[in-house]
Amino acid sequence: MIERADAVANRLAARLALLATDPAVFDPQDSQKPDPLIVIPYPDLKPDAALSESGSASVDLRLGTWFVTLRQARMESLGIDPGQSERRWEESKDETEQPEHQPEQLSGETQVSEGDIRDLKDTTESPEPPREEPEDKSESARRVQFTETRYVPFGSNYILHPRSFVLGVTLEWIRLPHDLAGYVIGKSSLGRRGLIIATATGVHPGFTGCLTLELTNVGEIPIRIQPGLRVCQLFLHEVKGTGVRRVDHSMFACQRQPGVGQVRRDDMARKLARRR
């Protein structure tokens, strides 16, 4: 069931009273304890304006000040196969024993998994097999590894060129209660100018933090965007189930900058990728 604007507004208005309660007694398993919906800064300065202007069932969200782009000049390719890093290691051992089982290469392209982003210099000069990325590598370390971060203050522009891709972030910090989930989609007025929020991002109950946005210019001319721009909208849906709170274990939780995330290890995909 989708939350209508007036219901969202009521939930948001209740946040102040709830935040005045010391959650030292907050029990995530206890449905009687406060579990507020929070959007900060409040969606619009005029009370509920963003809710009413955006129709009847979504909250407009604004563009934040941090942007992340991929380091194109440094990377040969970006593999997203979660089992690949380990597979390469195994195959490099196989090469010495059974060379007939060499993996196929796509037109001379070296496939590199996200866990193994390396400099071109490294891939050509280092004969050593890649190390598997530690599971607990921090988000900031991953971001430094293969992206560039940029801060754009209010009043400054970010130029998004045709066919370019950048990660942005919502200006708003959001906390969803256990009984609400959300979907982020772009705004049609921006989409018609070529600016696409690349995916409809699902936001799980219990999510806390700023939402990472994938921005692409699919048009023919550069688009100038500014922090503070109303860039997307969040639809909220009521969640029914066991009533267990904090179901979100998102790796992006509590971040103010765009998150790159980690392609999680997938044993099934790894087994399917085996040659024998």
Binding site: A20, I38, T65, R246
Partner: protein, 435 residues
């Protein structure tokens, strides 16, 4: 003449690098403004050097070459500092609130009253484990009427909001410049008092027998008999004053940040800074005056391997200072102890006059409740309250204990949350600003 060629080349290369630096991605225009001012200085050097020919008197040429080299040496670290202000580890969200804070204090303290658009703040970092400010630039004639405040945290701490209260100390250096003449006079007079009160001990430095305080003071000024004592007293008084500014503006957050940076320190004293035990004692003294609650056993945090020694000024002896010079440093220490309370009162008057709110523990607790929910707070009164809450969160062992995916990276999440809170605070301020 080869000498002239060297100088011309050096200046030309500095100008070339400034030209390149101006094209960097600075988040705020203040860095480019600073580069333009530095460029003006070096363009003037280039103009003078280009005029010179080997026919000019050699002394004149040497002097101009010397000044070009000195100025290059002075500004090169500053250019590096400005370049590092593009580093995205810097907590850029703090730029607006710190600038507002500096503006409100300077508007009250500075007799020249710099216009808001002439106050420039550059936040950066330094590969030196000590926060600092390029306060020298503040009084630089070529830079007037612009006021540049350049504050850098240690590189590894540049995204850490818990250390932000230390910017209060660095702002203090800028405020000190506004009162420097009066303060120097106060320090000199105090040094004279200390000497006069114990002629038996200090007679070997200045013969006070049969002389009035005015005569001793005159001798002190003209014969530079107490030059080292005066230098130490003035410098250490400035550092103490800056500690008090940080404490008054940020309250307990400053005490915590100070301890974070210097606890278990092996640093005892140098000529410019009072001994660490003295600094801590002065902070505790001023905390009482400002009604800031000091953490329990605060002084114990600083018990490094060498601080346990009762004598605080021991390093200079190791550096080979003479007995007389050590006496002068003793005079400086006594003079500083004598004026510490006066300095604390002066800081209180300035910061109160600038209408900077007192940090509120109740407000910090309110914000801390929001952090327990994992969200920034709305409607904060000051940067100090947000940073006070950040320290409460840091000290809260049970924070997010029910959310292991968050609590395992507690420091990172506190940093993200607090910096977002500071951005929200700035957004709210901007919304209140007149169009």
């Amino acid at each position: 003449m080869l000498l002239l060629d060297f100088a011309r080349t050096r200046v030309r290369l500095v100008l070339r690098d400034i030209e390149h630096l101006k094209e960097c991605d600075f988040p705020f225009p203040d860095a480019v403004t600073a580069l333009q001012r530095i460029e003006d200085i070096f363009r003037e050097f280039r103009r003078i050097l280009d005029i010179l020919t080997p026919d000019y008197p050699r002394e004149y040429i040497v002097r101009e070459c010397y000044w070009s080299l000195q100025t290059t040496a002075t500004y090169l670290p500053i250019l590096g500092f400005i370049l590092r202000s593009t580093d995205v580890r810097t907590a850029f969200e703090t730029w607006g609130p710190i600038r507002r804070l500096a503006e409100s204090i300077l508007r009250y303290a500075d007799p020249n009253r710099p216009q808001p658009d002439k106050i420039h703040l550059i936040l950066s970092s330094e590969w030196d484990y000590s926060p600092f400010v390029y306060s020298r630039l503040y009084g630089h004639e070529e830079w007037q009427p612009h006021c540049f405040i350049m504050i850098g945290l240690p590189a590894t701490e540049s995204p850490n909001p818990l250390l932000l209260p230390l910017t209060g100390h660095e702002l203090g250096h800028v405020v000190w410049r506004c009162f420097k003449a009066d303060m120097d006079l106060l320090m000199d007079q105090t040094v004279v008092q200390v000497v006069l009160e114990d002629p038996g001990r200090y007679g070997c430095i200045v013969d006070t027998r049969g002389k009035t305080a005015e005569q001793v003071y005159d001798e002190l000024l003209h014969r530079e008999a107490l030059a080292l004592a005066r230098y130490c007293t003035r410098s250490q008084a400035e550092e103490t004053y800056c500690d008090f500014v940080g404490l008054r503006v940020f309250g307990r957050g400053y005490l915590n940040a100070f301890a974070y940076l210097l606890s278990a320190s092996t640093v005892t004293s140098d000529l410019e800074h009072p001994g660490l035990p003295d600094r801590v004692d002065n902070l505790v003294l001023a905390a009482q005056l400002y009604q800031v609650k000091c953490p329990p056993d605060y002084a114990l945090l600083f018990a490094g391997p060498e601080v346990s020694c009762a004598e605080t000024i021991e390093a200079p002896d190791e550096w080979g200072f003479s007995a007389e010079q050590q006496l002068q440093m003793e005079i400086a220490r006594k003079a500083l102890q004598r004026v510490a309370k006066t300095l604390a009162e002066k800081v209180r008057d300035v910061i109160n006059g600038a209408n900077v709110p007192h940090p509120s523990e109740d407000e910090a607790r309110r914000i801390h409740i929001c952090y327990k929910y994992g969200v920034p707070a709305e409607g904060c009164r000051s940067l100090a309250d947000i940073l006070g809450a950040a320290w409460l969160a840091y000290e809260d062992d049970k924070l997010w204990h029910d959310r292991p995916e968050v609590s395992t990276r507690k420091d990172e999440v506190i940093s993200s949350l607090v910096l977002k809170n500071i951005e929200v605070f700035e957004i709210e301020q901007k919304m209140r600003d007149p169009e």
